[in-house]
């Protein structure tokens, strides 16, 4: 039984001697993976953005600077008294500032502001979005405690709709793209192997078994898949980081995904998809050619 090393060497010879053909398939593979990757990143960011907007549909009460702990506690009791309140969260201005600084650590934000500009805040989430306005009107009367109130209003449902729509169509489009990538890669590898069907025929004529012929081609597919997806993942990571950083600087409050495990999942997923497609494409093509 010949060693795996033998087949790997054979695959290397095949790839090297098909030169331009190898380069063309590699490019096609990397490009289609890159497109898929970009769109995945785009989708998760848009979804994140939409989540961000939806989650912001709440009432934010900014306290005056000159009030006491006691005032706040009293106000809290008042708010708890409303029957439409689902949840009340108290955000200390120091904590809020820390969070903000951490969130936008990549930007210029903290360079120019060194004193905490944020007030203490109470975040109120309601059980019924339509009652927000009524509640705001009542809260506004507590002028001794409340400095300002912001809230979403009628746009709430629209935003939720938008978010839902973006999510559905984004993932739908991703599924389509995955399918397309799959087809393009398999077709490309198929074309590459078809161009060598004479070679395969000659191998059969001198007594090589199917598996003996198949292995090097499958390994070639594997190598194409690994190299192609590595190239695309690396390009993806660097260009995403660059673009995201740029956008973040332009629009500091835009909630982009940075250093999140989801990014690593995407990169790993792409790598696996590319590799699997390379192997599968080669396996299918060579099997058809062998028939």
């Amino acid at each position: 039984m010949p060693s795996l090393f033998f087949f790997i060497r054979e695959a290397a010879i095949g790839l090297r001697r098909s030169g331009l053909m190898t380069v063309l398939s590699l490019c096609t593979l990397a490009v289609s993976m890159l497109v898929l990757g970009f769109f995945l990143l785009f989708t998760v960011n848009v979804n994140n953005l939409a989540d961000f907007f939806v989650s912001r549909l709440e009432i934010r009460v900014f306290f005056r600077d000159d009030i006491t702990r006691r005032d706040k506690r009293d106000f809290h009791t008042v708010v708890q008294g409303f029957d439409t309140v689902r949840e009340v969260e108290f955000v200390d201005k120091a904590v809020a500032w820390e969070t903000l600084k951490q969130q936008y650590s990549g930007t210029q934000l903290t360079r120019y502001i060194d004193k905490n500009p944020l007030p203490d805040t109470m975040i109120i989430r309601v059980t019924d979005q339509t009652k927000i306005q009524a509640m705001v009107s009542k809260l506004e009367t507590y002028t001794t405690v409340v400095d300002d109130i912001v809230y979403g209003g009628y746009i709430t449902e629209r935003i939720q709709l938008l978010s839902k729509w973006l999510r559905i169509s984004g993932w739908g489009f991703n599924a389509l793209l995955l399918l397309a990538t799959l087809m393009i890669i398999v077709n490309t590898i198929r074309l590459t192997i078809m161009a060598r069907h004479n070679e395969v025929e000659i191998m059969q004529l001198v007594g090589a078994t199917r598996w003996f012929i198949r292995w090097p081609f499958v390994i070639e597919g594997f190598v194409l898949g690994v190299v192609g997806s590595t190239v695309s993942v690396v390009m993806l990571k660097f260009s995403y980081d660059a673009v995201a950083k740029y956008i973040q600087q332009q629009f500091p409050f835009m909630p982009l995904i940075f250093n999140s495990p989801i990014l690593w999942w995407i990169y790993a997923g792409l790598f696996i998809i590319g590799t699997v497609l390379g192997v599968m494409g080669a396996y299918i093509s060579i099997s058809r050619t062998l028939e």
Binding site: I13, R17, E199, I202, L205, G207, A208, T209
Partner: protein, 225 residues
């Protein structure tokens, strides 16, 4: 060894490649297959080599019944039946050395043994200095000799040689025939399709003559008129 009974091969275009051929060849025989262009010599070889399925009749090669050969058996058959192809069929992206070594790799020979055997056979056909060239850098006759080397390197039990000297000068052709004769002495059955009547007449072996896909004569120690 080889037993053919009323074998016919009808191609898709309604052309009979072989028409009711019966033939028996024993182990260790040396047979010339002659006949005009298009008489079915290559077709017969292709059937014996499992490249074409016969349309009717029976053909037995070694232990294999070709009319019901399983896909798995084909490679095994081909290791026992070496063939020198009329159109060479060398792997274009492999060097001469690699082309010949491939047959041995298929048979799981050790690397050192492969090296030894390939150089031996290249020496036999006189092309040691071309070992690392690609087939496209060889002359017609050189390609033909590589094809011969590939067919004999693993010492198959049957050797089918389709026009093995068509592109060779008379001296080289005669050398190759002598070589085939020597291989035949090691009990390898050899069938040679050829148009070279000088060689046929000089060798004085069994001659089977085909015409329009049928055997028209089969003579021991025959000659080519």
């Amino acid at each position: 060894m080889i037993a053919i009974q009323s074998l016919s091969k009808l191609y898709d275009n309604d052309c009979y490649g072989l028409n009711d051929v019966s033939l028996a060849i024993d182990q260790g025989e040396f047979v010339f297959l002659v006949g005009p262009s298009g008489s079915g010599k290559t077709t017969l070889f292709n059937v014996l080599h499992g490249r074409e399925r016969p349309s009717s009749g029976r053909a037995q090669v070694l232990a294999y019944e070709l009319t019901r050969l399983l896909a798995d058996q084909l490679p095994v058959l081909r290791r026992d039946v070496g063939m020198i192809f009329q159109d060479y069929k060398l792997l274009p992206k492999r060097t001469v050395y690699e082309n010949i070594a491939f047959v041995l790799q298929v048979l799981h020979y050790k690397r050192r043994r492969i090296h030894q055997l390939v150089h031996q056979v290249l020496d036999l056909v006189g092309l040691t200095n071309k070992a690392h060239d690609y087939p496209r850098a060889l002359s017609g006759g050189e390609q033909q000799r590589i094809c011969i080397a590939r067919a004999i390197v693993h010492q198959p039990r049957i050797l089918l040689a389709d026009e093995p000297t068509g592109n060779l000068d008379p001296d080289t052709a005669w050398d190759i025939m002598q070589l085939l004769g020597k291989i035949n002495q090691r009990k390898t059955t050899i069938i040679v399709a050829t148009h070279d009547w000088r060689i046929v007449n000089k060798m004085r072996r069994r001659v089977v003559r085909l015409m329009n896909g049928s055997v028209v004569s089969d003579t021991i120690m025959g000659h080519y008129a």
